[in-house]
Symmetry: C2
Subunit: 300 residues, 2 copies
């Protein structure tokens, strides 16, 4: 099995879906525990309009909090930005990695950013090509790459075209996001294979939601077809506030547990991720979609 | 993708785990709806000691109820038996297909049947080879084939050895059951590949539980590595009362929905399965593990 890198997005994709705002100090605790677990990349939050997504209003503050131990930290701290203003804040916050993207669904793109896919793509590419000059990795994504709650089918050529444009611009860290959770394994095989045909130097990431029960199945298929960076959320939290019907992300500890069953990524401390999900379950006073934080991991 | 046949086991593996007994008339309704949906095989129940598993006490009655429309029915009605007495009842009930098995875990075998694996295997083979003489298909299984809640790891050679014994006896419908839900994809690949090396005429079935979140992922892997008959339960109900910690089966409607997303098994009426899960969720007054009965299926 190829080397798998885990990009924990629960503090962003997870918390933006919860109506109960999480105090900054609690986010700091959760982030510290996740960093401590040895996950590869941790998305601390997004730099977006606090009026639209109040749950993300303290992202600058969070980056500031983790500035002091930057040198000793193995985990990269990433963020999501939507526009130039967000990028400016991300740079000011000295985020280790900056993520941005466009939606392959026109409706989702309009609702999320007020722009068409083409408008957003031009803008994002312009922003993305600047980031490596600052010595930081950038990751670009195609949201709603496997279907859209509003539009239904998204033509695969449209996704491929966006990826080609990224690749032509020299941006090779590319994530396909199944924002609404419509993906199925055959579709994952087709899209990921096509992308590596465009440019086999592309470093593929994937981001699946479990709306219809295929989250982790699609992750395994994506790995088989070239994905290295897997975006997951502790407890299986998550969803997208700007699409129609989306369940949680693939659950980090469930996925890590499955890798460890096959002697992969034993360097990650599963118990520390489980502790965060238990904490979050208590905080939100509800059961989260993840399973392993409830069952405990298998010990053999 | 190979031809996939679905063996619905919710009325047996699902209901045996519920403390609330389901009245026979309700089971008849659920079974009729499941037959109507066009599923390939429906397990009506097991012929076991009603004192030990009271939820299955009416299995004879259920077979009797569905006797009248046997000729027009496309769906095969199967049952599970544990011993000679059960087999006798199954034959008397004129079940279309008879399932039986042994556990690869000594502890699970003892708890489930009071016999060691070897004792149970001899007995089951002796029983199974008689069934085709009655003009009925028989399916044999290896339970706890991927790990055991009591024993932990189950040596793969032990599973392979049981399968070889079945194969040597000419019994070729063989199901590997992940009773505790410990399986992971790499293990599924190894075991299924090894089995087809023993005898490529074996018709492989699989039965996965979702205890740690890998149920449907293991099904897709099993299909890729030769499985044709997939055992699932409506609503994702299920578990094994005689093992330690087992969550529900792979959910029938979630799995059928995933196949239909890829234009497979469009002949199955998804809505009719969803209706049973909604009914069962109402009956048990709880949310079931399945997702699609809550979200509805994608329509495009």
């Amino acid at each position: 099995m190829r080397d798998i890198r885990i990009h924990e997005v629960g503090l962003r994709d997870g918390l933006q879906m919860e109506s109960e705002p999480v105090p900054t100090v609690t986010k700091e605790q959760w982030a510290a525990m996740l960093i401590d677990s040895g996950l590869d990349i941790l998305q601390l939050g997004s730099f977006v309009n606090p009026a639209k997504v109040p749950q993300m209003a303290d992202t600058d503050e969070l980056f500031d909090y983790f500035k002091s131990n930057k040198k000793d930290r193995k985990t990269l701290l990433s963020c999501l930005v939507l526009n130039e203003k967000g990028l400016e804040r991300a740079i000011k916050s000295d985020a280790d990695m900056i993520c941005m993207g466009v939606s392959a669904s026109e409706t989702h793109s309009k609702k999320n950013t007020g722009m068409s896919t083409e408008e957003a793509l031009k803008r994002i590419i312009k922003m993305a090509i600047e980031v490596p000059n600052l010595g930081k990795p950038v990751q670009v994504s195609v949201q709603s790459a496997f279907g859209c709650g509003f539009e239904g089918e998204i033509p695969e050529e449209k996704v491929i075209n966006i990826v080609s444009r990224y690749s032509d611009a020299g941006i090779l860290n590319i994530s396909l996001a199944d924002t609404a959770g419509h993906a199925h394994p055959e579709q994952v095989k087709r899209l990921f294979s096509s992308i590596l045909e465009i440019n086999d130097k592309i470093k593929l990431a994937c981001h699946f939601h479990n709306t219809y029960g295929l989250g982790i199945t699609n992750v395994y298929t994506a790995i088989e077809y070239g994905a290295t960076f897997i975006e997951t959320a502790f407890g299986g939290l998550g969803g997208c506030p700007f699409t129609k019907l989306s369940a949680g992300n693939v659950c980090t500890e469930d996925f890590v547990h499955s890798l460890q069953r096959n002697n992969n990524r034993k360097d990650i401390n599963l118990e520390k991720i489980i502790a965060v999900s238990k904490y979050a379950s208590g905080f939100f006073v509800k059961e989260l979609p993840g399973l392993v934080y409830k069952t405990g991991g298998l010990k053999y």
